[in-house]
């Protein structure tokens, strides 16, 4: 697919793609130098959504920062909540009572549901950018169901502020278990339809196969994480390899890329990353079912160690001990790491958020040369770049 830009010797044209462009998934700007249809250079220009969330964290108390983590990655706000709360809990260490068992199960449940809805948007949008609008609508329809479940759970459709330091904000609502079960059944059926519609579609496959192939070594060196890393064949998932919460008990199966496009493709191409996301949806369905099985019956008290959902609420940590910590968790776009620095006061001293999309955008300049202009949207879609994560 790729042609060396150097072999063609035409006049270079510089294009500014974005920050307002429908297929850059937000406000990414790429300054593209093309030679005819072939890209010779693509320099990402980011920061159009830099909202200073890290700096804001220094001006709030620890627990007050949780709503801002929603805005760090609004496509999967639950996972962003979870990442911060897991990091803050580790920083607080033994000063905080452990999260009750039911609370941990609810966390896995909502995090995996949100992973599903995030991946649905990711695969849907990357198909839409390549001209297939219908799968996107199918994905959104399912996402609406997840939003409904979350709305009954915490009152918000998008920015949940549900997972808190020490547990979750509320217990599951009475119909939640049944609703989630129904949704998972429906989703399994829907995913088959989805795959028939787009995954095995030869036009879509050929647009993705062998585009922006990333080898395993490159992926690790450039700091790619999550499905992008696994798409290159690296078998690494923090839920299994550095388990947090109750993920250690769940026996997470990790799908990795293995040249799904067959003779058309190569290991680590855009199609592999797309398929890995679809397989992860299947895995999340399984994890949700398993978390539902493990869910202990509800207790009346929030801080009941088994049936509660929040560790000792009266002692929710105002002041963690002074220290510095880096904790990473697996969000849909890969490792979401929080570098927290505490000076022992009630406010964080410094928060740094490391996200999967940040690494992916950093790699664009390396990936794009030699590709066709039309492949840029394939690359952006297959890396699943979400801009608030990049800019924070």
């Amino acid at each position: 697919m790729t042609i060396e830009a150097e072999t063609l010797d035409g006049e270079r044209m510089t294009l500014s793609m974005g920050p307002h462009h429908p297929s850059t998934h937000g406000v990414l700007r790429l300054i593209v130098e093309t030679d005819g249809e072939v890209i010779s250079r693509a320099v990402p220009d980011i920061g159009y959504l830099h909202r200073a969330i890290e700096k804001i964290g220094e001006k709030l108390e620890w627990a007050q920062f949780v709503p801002y983590t929603d805005r760090v990655d609004y496509v999967c706000a639950m996972n962003a909540n979870l990442a911060f709360c897991v990091a803050a809990e580790q920083l607080m260490g033994s000063a905080l009572a452990p999260v009750p068992r039911r609370g941990e199960c609810i966390r896995v449940l909502v995090a995996e549901l949100n992973r599903i809805s995030s991946h649905l948007v990711a695969v849907g949008v990357s198909a839409m950018d390549l001209g297939a609008f219908t799968p996107f609508l199918h994905g959104l329809a399912q996402r609406e169901t997840v939003n409904d479940i979350f709305e009954r759970l915490c009152g918000q459709r998008l920015t949940y502020n549900y997972i808190t330091i020490g547990g979750v904000a509320f217990d599951l609502h009475p119909t939640a278990v049944a609703e989630i079960g129904t949704f998972l059944d429906e989703l399994s059926r829907e995913m088959k339809r989805f795959s028939q519609l787009i995954t095995v579609n030869p036009i879509f496959r050929d647009r993705c196969a062998k585009v922006a192939t990333i080898s395993a070594a490159e992926a690790i060196a450039w700091g790619l994480v999550g499905p992008n890393l696994r798409g290159s064949g690296v078998d690494f998932d923090l839920r299994r390899d550095e388990p947090y919460g109750i993920y250690g008990e769940l026996d997470v199966q990790v799908p990795v890329g293995r040249n799904y496009a067959g003779r058309h493709g190569a290991l680590g191409d855009s199609y592999d990353r797309f398929v890995v996301r679809l397989l992860e949806i299947q895995e999340s369905i399984r994890l949700c079912r398993k978390a539902l099985e493990l869910l202990p019956p509800a207790a009346a008290k929030a801080d009941d160690p088994v049936g509660g959902w929040q560790s000792d609420a009266s002692k929710v940590l105002r002041k963690p001990p002074a220290g510095e910590i880096y904790v990473r968790t697996e969000a849909p776009r890969g490792e979401m790491g929080y570098h927290l620095v505490s000076d022992g006061s009630k406010m964080p001293y410094r928060i740094k958020i490391r996200t999967g999309s940040f690494a992916a955008v950093g790699m664009l300049e390396y990936l794009c040369p030699g590709l066709f202009m039309a492949d840029i949207v394939t690359v952006i879609g297959s890396l699943d770049i979400v801009l608030p994560e990049v800019d924070r």
Binding site: G26, L49, R51, I56, D70, Y74, R143, R157
Partner: protein, 186 residues
Amino acid sequence: MTDKALSPGNGDDGVALLAVDEFLAWGKEHSLFYLLFATACCGIELMQTGGPRYDLDRLGMIPRATPRQADLMIVAGTITHKMASRAHLLYQQMAEPRWVVSMGSCANSGGPFSKHSYSVLNGIDKLIPIDVYIPGCPPRPEALIDGVMALRHRVKKYRTAGIRDRDPHVVAGGDCEFGSHPGKDS
């Protein structure tokens, strides 16, 4: 949806009689093409409003990628200082008469970032005039549709009577004229 403009007589025979400019105004009112200007979280809600459940298309609203073809700019999401000049440019590229809906607290006033952030523009109304404000973080799709319905009344007034309201309309909770709360019915 019955529309009075289309049935000035009794309208039983399926024939509507009306002046041509009224007919054109009716068309304009019911085909507000909007500029897909989504920067942040509110943009996801805008996307879902255009999605299968809320389906903005049924209101004749079709997203346009270029400002030249859009009547309406829905500013959905945070506008940072870096983005502000671009947003202003996009507005200027739209053809008159142009309408602007400010969706979400960020576009209204900077929202959760107004007080502590150094890089967020506290309200897009510093740069471009707003017709409808929709509060919420993010607003529900129903609120967005409600704002659009309010805007339609203005479009109609402008097209038929030539009056363009200057003071912005603010969507308030509780007076939703359109749609229900699908998430809350259990």
